[in-house]
C-alpha cells in the first residue's frame, strides 16, 4: 500500500483488489477503482508532468476531466495514446504510463531552460519572435517550435482496437449524474417518459460527499447509489456511465463518447474500445455541474498545489492523501468542506487562509473542529520546486503575513458553472456577480440547465432544481407528472458569497491557464497591447485554447482582462465553447468506417473469372476492374500491347459490367431522351442503338453512352462507369422537377445486368459458338447498332452490336447472377477462335486508336464541338445545355479541340498531362497551345500516340510538329499533329 494511502474514505475503491502499474518505468501498487492520478498520489508521487511552454514541473491540479496538468502517455506500441489525463485514466493491472514533454527525465528536464527565456516567451511570442527572416520559417523556426511544443507521441502503427457508432433516442436526456442529475432523472422517469441519463465518470453522485452530506436522512453516497439502482431497474430508463456528452448539435442531437473498455488493458474479444453515441433527445436536462477555479498567486502551479475540491475528492473518493500537511487558501465557503474532510481523515490542516473578512458560519464550524482559520489572508507565493514545501501568505493589503510549512496547498477561487454544452447551442452565458460565474441565458433548444450548472451550489437547491428540471423536460416531451411526486431533500445551508480575487499580489509567475502556460502577466500584456476584446485576448495569449478548453481558467482570465480594462466582467463577456467538450480519439469518430469498411469494394459478377486468368485489378470508383492479364514473365506494357494487338487480330473479351445502366419506360421516353441528349431520339427504331451525348445545363459535356430502344416505350441507357449515379440524379431532377408532365419512369439497373464486350474479327464466330442456336447474329439479323433480346439458359439476355474498339464487336448483357456462366460459356467457345481476355488498359488503347473520347477527355471543361462532336448538336429540338452552349466563349474559334498526336522520335514515349508547345525551349503557361489527355503505345499505328486538346485544332496544325513538354519527367518529345481517327478511319472493320 502506498505511503499516502488512507484508511479513511475510498468510496470509489475496491480495496480487496490490488492493482500493479508502472509510471516512467517504476512499478507501483494501487487499487481497482483508482485513477492513475489517485494511485500516484497514494504512492506519494506528486510530480506527474511538465508544462507546455516553460517545461515547469507539474502535478495534478484537479481530480477529474478538466485536468490541465497531469497529461501522460499511456500504453505502448499500436495502442500508445498520448495526452491522456491521469485524473480520468482508470487503473488496471499492468497499466504503463510515461510522463510527457520532458527530457531526459521528469525530475531533470533540460528544456526547463525555457523559463530563463520567459521574458521572450510571453503572450504573442510566436508573432513577435518568428517574424523574420521569412526563409528561416521552414528550416529553423518550424523545427524548433515542433520539437519544443510537442506533447505526447502518437502511435505509428494502426490501432488494433475497434470503435463503434450507435444511436439512441429518448424523451429526456439527463447529462450528468450528480445530485441535480439524479434528481432530474428520477422525476422524469416517474412520468413514464423514456429517460437516458449519462455520466462521465465510472461512479455517480458527482460532488456529493460521503462524510458531510445527507439526503433524505441517508449518507449522500448511499442515496446516490440507491437512486442509480432504482433508475437502472426501470424499463423506461437507460443509464450510462464512463460516457461523456461532448457535443450539442442541431435538431437536439447530442454526441457522446462511451469509454467501453478504456479501463482495461485491452478490450475483451469482440468488444469495442470506445463507442460513439448519436443521441436524439426530445428534451435535455443539463446537469453538468461546475468547475472550481485556481487562485492566481506566484508559483501556484507547483506540484502539490491543487484545487480544494480535488483534494477532498482524492481523500474521500480514493482514500489518497495529496499531502500530510495541507494549507487551505480560499475566497469562498466550499473549501471549508475540504478542511473538514481532511480533519476527519486525520490529515493535518495547519491553516485555512480566507481572503474574505466577513465572518461566516463555515469558518466558525472549522474553528470549532480545531482548525485554525485566518480571515483577510491571501496566498503570496508557493515555495518549493518539484513539490511545494511551504506557502507564503500576505494580508489583503499586500503586506507579508507569514510562511507556513506544508506539502500540499488546497486552493479555491470559486466555482464556474459548466456551460460548455449550452454554449455550443449558441446561448451566450451571462455574468452573475453574486456567484462570480457565467450562467446560461434563455435556451434556444429544447434544453434547460439545473443545479451547479446554472449557479446553484447548495445541495438542497441542486436536488430541488434538478427535480423541477426533470419535470419540466418530461412535460415538454408530453408526459405529465403525478401530483404526489416529491424531490429528495437535504438540509438547507447558507453560504457567504465568494470574494472576487483574480490576482493575489505578486511579481512572479502566476498561472491562469496551466495547460497553455498563460500567466496573469500575459493577459495584462495582451490588454496593454490592445487585445482588449475577449476573443482577441484569447487568441493572442492562447488562454483556454488547450485541450482542456480552459475549464478551470477561462473565468479567471476574463476577470483579469476586465481588471486590465477597468470594466465589469459582464461588459467583457466570454468566449464560445465548441465541441468536443473533452478530447475524442479520431478512431471513435471513424468508428467502423476504416479501410474497406470506409471504402467498400464493388466486384462484378465475373470477378472470379478475371482472377482465374491472373488479372491485375484497378480501382474505378469503388469498382475493381481487370486492368490487364499478364502472362508469366510479362511486364505491364508488354501485356497491354499484346492484348490490344490480339483483339484486332482474332478476338477479345472484356468485362464491361461497371457501365451505368438505366431502364427507361413510358410513352414519353423518346421525348425525355430528346431533351436530355444533344442528338435526336425520336427516329430511333425499336431494336436499334444510338450513341448519345449529354450536356450539363451550363453547356459543357456531362456524359456519353449508348442508349437502345428495346421496344416502343422501353429504352435502355448506358452511362460511363464514373457518372452512373450522377446521371441518374440528373434524370430524376429532369423528370420530377423540370418536366413532371412527361410520362416516363426509370430506374438504375447497373447491378441487375452484367455485361461483356466481345470484339475482333472472330467475335461473331465466338458468340455463335457460345450461344449456339439461341441466337442468330448474322449481319442481316443483327446489323451494326442493332439490338436483340434472346433467351439463354432460361433467362433473358440482350445483345448489342456496338463497338468501342472499332472492330466487329458485340456487347452481351445477362442478369447479374448469370455473369460467371456467360463468361465461361464465351471463354470456352472462344478458345478455338483465338479469344483472349483484355482489361481496361487495352480497352483504352483500342479506343484511343479510334479517337473515341472517354473520361480523360470528358473533364467538365469541354464542349461537344471541342471533342469534334459539334455537329451532333441538334438544332431541331431543345435540350439541356443548349442555350448555354451557345455562349460566346464556348463557341470561340480559338478553343482547344480534339486532335491526334503521333510521336516522331524513335526513342521516348508520350505522357498524359504534357503541354503542347511550338518551341520546346520556350515552354510556359503562356506558350502552351494545349494538353495531352490520353496516350498509348499503339500496336495498330506502330508508335506512341495520344489524344490532345489543341488551340486551333486540326485545321490549323495538321501535319505540324509540336513538342509535348512534361517538366516532371524533363521530357519534350516531338509529336506530329494528326486526325484523332488513327486507325481505320472509314470504319470498315466494324463489319468484320
Amino acid at each position: 500500500m502506498g505511503k499516502n494511502r488512507l484508511n479513511f474514505g475510498g468510496t470509489k475503491l475496491d480495496r480487496s483488489k490490488p492493482v500493479n502499474f508502472t509510471f516512467d518505468g517504476k512499478t507501483y501498487s494501487g487499487f481497482a477503482g483508482d485513477t492513475l492520478a489517485s494511485a500516484l498520489l497514494a504512492n506519494g508521487v506528486v510530480l506527474m508532468g511538465r508544462s507546455f511552454k516553460y517545461h515547469r514541473p507539474r502535478g495534478c491540479l484537479t481530480a477529474g476531466s478538466e485536468e490541465p496538468n497531469a497529461i501522460v502517455e499511456m500504453r505502448s506500441g499500436p495502442r500508445r495514446e498520448p495526452n491522456t489525463r491521469a485524473t480520468v485514466a482508470e487503473l488496471y493491472d499492468g497499466l504503463d504510463a510515461q510522463s510527457q514533454n520532458r527530457w531526459p527525465s521528469l525530475a531533470v528536464d533540460l528544456q526547463s531552460v525555457n523559463q530563463l527565456l520567459s521574458p521572450w516567451l510571453t503572450a504573442g511570442f510566436y508573432y513577435k519572435t518568428f517574424m523574420w527572416p521569412a526563409k528561416f520559417w521552414e528550416p529553423v523556426y518550424e523545427k524548433f517550435i515542433r520539437r519544443s511544443a510537442g506533447l505526447g507521441h502518437a502511435a505509428v502503427e494502426a490501432d488494433p482496437d475497434t470503435y463503434e457508432h450507435a444511436h439512441a433516442h429518448c424523451d429526456v436526456l439527463v447529462v450528468g449524474a450528480g445530485p441535480a442529475g439524479l434528481s432530474a432523472a428520477l422525476a422524469a422517469a416517474a412520468t413514464g417518459a423514456r429517460v437516458l441519463i449519462v455520466e462521465e465518470q465510472a461512479h455517480v453522485g458527482g460532488d456529493l460527499s460521503s462524510t458531510l452530506d445527507q439526503i433524505d436522512g441517508k449518507p449522500a453516497d448511499q442515496w446516490a447509489a440507491e437512486a442509480w439502482v432504482k433508475l437502472k431497474a426501470l424499463d423506461n430508463v437507460t443509464t450510462m456511465t464512463r460516457t461523456t456528452v461532448f457535443g450539442y448539435y442541431d435538431g437536439n442531437v447530442l454526441a457522446a463518447l462511451e469509454r467501453v473498455n478504456d479501463h482495461l488493458a485491452e478490450p475483451p474479444n469482440g468488444q469495442p474500445r470506445q463507442r460513439m453515441w448519436n443521441i436524439r433527445a426530445k428534451e435535455v436536462a443539463l446537469t453538468c455541474g461546475s468547475h472550481e477555479r485556481a487562485l492566481t498567486f506566484d508559483n501556484n502551479d507547483r506540484p502539490g498545489v491543487m484545487l480544494a475540491g480535488a483534494v477532498r475528492e482524492f481523500v474521500e473518493g480514493y482514500g489518497a492523501a495529496p499531502g500530510k500537511r495541507v494549507v487551505i487558501v480560499t475566497n469562498n465557503d466550499e473549501a471549508y468542506r475540504t478542511a473538514m474532510v481532511l480533519k476527519e481523515a486525520g490529515v493535518e490542516v495547519p491553516l485555512i487562509a480566507d481572503a474574505r473578512t466577513t465572518p461566516n458560519a463555515a469558518a466558525e464550524a472549522a474553528r470549532a473542529a480545531g482548525i485554525p482559520v485566518e480571515m483577510g489572508v491571501l496566498p503570496k507565493k508557493a515555495v518549493g520546486r518539484l513539490q511545494v514545501k511551504a506557502i507564503e501568505l500576505q494580508r489583503v493589503d499586500g503586506a507579508f503575513h507569514k510562511k507556513v510549512e506544508c506539502d500540499c496547498v488546497a486552493m479555491s477561487s470559486g466555482y464556474s458553472p459548466d456551460v460548455h454544452l449550452v454554449s455550443q447551442t449558441g446561448v451566450a452565458p451571462i455574468w452573475r456577480e453574486d456567484i462570480l460565474g457565467f450562467v446560461p441565458d434563455t435556451p434556444k433548444r429544447q434544453e434547460r440547465s439545473a443545479g451547479a450548472g446554472k449557479g446553484i451550489f447548495d445541495l438542497a437547491g441542486c436536488l430541488h432544481d434538478g427535480h423541477m428540471a426533470g419535470i419540466d423536460a418530461a412535460r415538454n416531451a408530453g408526459f405529465e407528472p403525478a401530483k404526489s411526486l416529491k424531490a429528495s431533500r437535504a438540509d438547507p445551508t447558507s453560504a457567504v458569497p465568494p470574494l472576487a480575487i483574480w490576482r493575489c499580489p505578486g511579481q512572479g509567475k502566476a498561472f491562469v491557464d496551466f495547460q497553455n502556460d498563460v500567466t496573469a502577466r500575459d493577459i495584462h500584456l495582451a490588454a496593454q497591447e490592445g487585445y482588449v476584446s475577449v476573443e482577441h485576448a484569447k487568441r493572442y495569449t492562447t488562454l483556454g485554447m488547450a485541450t482542456d478548453q480552459g475549464k478551470t481558467s477561462n473565468v479567471t482570465g476574463i476577470g483579469l482582462l476586465a481588471t486590465a480594462r477597468g470594466e465589469p466582467i459582464s461588459d467583457v463577456g466570454t468566449t464560445r465553447f465548441r465541441p468536443p467538450y473533452s478530447p475524442v480519439a479520431i478512431g471513435a469518430f471513424a468508428g467502423h468506417e476504416r479501410g474497406r469498411e470506409f471504402q467498400p469494394v464493388r466486384q462484378t459478377a465475373m470477378h472470379s473469372c478475371g482472377e482465374k486468368l491472373g488479372a491485375v485489378f484497378v480501382e474505378a470508383g469503388l469498382w475493381l476492374r481487370p486492368q490487364y492479364y499478364p502472362k508469366p514473365g510479362e511486364g505491364v506494357m508488354e501485356a497491354i500491347y499484346r492484348e490490344s494487338k490480339q483483339v484486332r487480330e482474332t478476338a477479345g473479351i472484356c468485362d464491361v459490367s461497371t457501365l451505368g445502366k438505366i431502364e427507361i419506360f413510358g410513352p414519353d421516353s423518346g421525348e425525355f431522351l430528346n431533351r436530355l441528349y444533344i442528338n435526336g431520339w425520336k427516329m430511333l427504331a425499336p431494336g436499334k442503338a444510338r450513341y448519345g451525348l449529354m450536356l450539363r445545363e451550363d453547356g459543357y459535356v456531362f456524359d456519353d453512352g449508348t442508349t437502345s430502344r428495346l421496344d416502343d416505350d422501353h429504352y435502355f441507357m448506358t452511362t460511363t462507369t464514373a457518372n452512373a449515379a450522377r446521371v441518374l440524379a440528373h434524370m430524376e431532377h429532369a423528370a420530377q422537377v423540370l418536366w413532371p408532365e412527361l410520362d416516363v419512369h426509370f430506374c438504375s439497373a447497373t447491378e441487375q445486368w452484367c455485361g461483356v464486350a466481345v470484339a475482333g474479327p472472330n467475335a461473331r464466330k465466338v458468340l455463335a459458338d457460345a450461344f449456339d442456336e439461341a441466337l442468330d447474329i448474322s449481319d442481316e439479323a443483327l446489323p451494326f447498332m442493332g439490338v436483340r433480346t434472346f433467351s439463354w439458359c432460361g433467362t433473358t439476355a440482350r445483345i448489342f452490336r456496338i463497338s468501342f474498339s472499332g472492330e466487329l464487336a458485340f456487347e452481351v448483357n445477362v442478369p447479374w447472377s448469370f455473369g460467371e456462366a456467360m463468361w465461361n460459356a464465351i471463354w470456352e467457345a472462344g478458345q478455338k477462335h483465338g479469344l483472349i481476355a483484355y482489361g481496361t488498359e487495352a480497352l483504352s488503347v483500342l479506343r484511343i486508336e479510334k479517337g473515341h473520347v472517354a473520361g480523360n477527355e470528358l473533364d467538365g471543361r469541354t464542349t461537344a464541338a471541342d471533342m469534334g462532336l459539334g455537329r451532333m448538336m441538334s438544332t431541331k429540338k431543345p435540350f439541356i445545355g443548349q442555350v448555354m452552349a451557345g455562349r460566346e466563349g464556348m463557341i470561340a474559334e480559338d478553343r482547344a479541340t480534339l486532335v491526334g498526336l503521333k510521336i516522331t522520335e524513335s526513342e521516348g514515349r508520350l505522357r498524359g498531362g504534357a503541354h503542347l508547345v511550338v518551341d520546346k525551349d520556350d515552354a510556359s503557361a503562356e506558350t502552351s497551345l494545349g494538353w495531352v489527355t490520353s496516350v498509348c503505345d499503339s500496336p495498330a499505328v506502330g508508335c506512341w500516340i495520344g489524344l490532345a486538346y489543341l488551340q486551333g485544332g486540326l485545321s490549323q496544325h495538321e501535319g505540324k510538329t509540336l513538342y509535348a513538354v512534361n517538366p516532371i519527367y524533363d521530357e519534350a518529345p516531338a509529336v506530329e499533329v494528326c486526325s484523332a481517327h488513327f486507325f481505320d478511319p472509314e470504319g470498315e472493320r466494324l463489319n468484320g
Partner: protein
C-alpha cells in the same frame, strides 16, 4: 442533424438526403435568352433566414423534396413535392428573402 419529412417516406434522417440547392429557381423556357439561363444556372441568393431548397432523397425513395429551411437556425418549416408551392413562415426573420 436535420430530420426531413419526406412526403413519400415520412420523417427521415438528413444522412439519407443529398442537398441540391436553391429550389426557388425556375428553368426558363427552352427558347429563353442566354441571360435568363445564365441567371438560372449561376445566380444564387444566399439568404440568412428562410430558404426553399431541394433535398434529394437519394438513400430513400429517390424523389426530389422541396424543403423550407432556416439557414440561420436550421429549423425546417415545411416539406413538399416538387410541384407544391410552399410558403415561408409568416413572421420573417430579418434579412431573409
Amino acid at each position: 442533424m436535420h430530420r426531413i419529412d419526406c412526403p413519400w417516406c415520412g420523417i427521415r434522417d438528413e444522412a439519407e438526403f443529398q442537398y441540391q440547392g436553391d429550389a426557388t429557381k425556375v428553368r426558363p423556357a427552352p427558347d429563353a435568352s442566354q441571360d435568363a439561363f445564365f441567371d438560372y444556372v449561376y445566380k444564387r441568393d444566399n439568404p440568412k433566414g428562410w430558404h426553399t431548397e431541394w433535398w434529394h432523397h437519394v438513400g430513400g425513395c429517390r424523389q426530389w423534396v422541396k424543403v423550407v429551411r432556416n439557414t440561420l437556425t436550421h429549423e425546417i418549416h415545411a416539406t413538399g413535392a416538387p410541384a407544391e408551392k410552399l410558403s415561408l413562415p409568416r413572421k420573417k426573420k430579418r434579412g431573409s428573402k
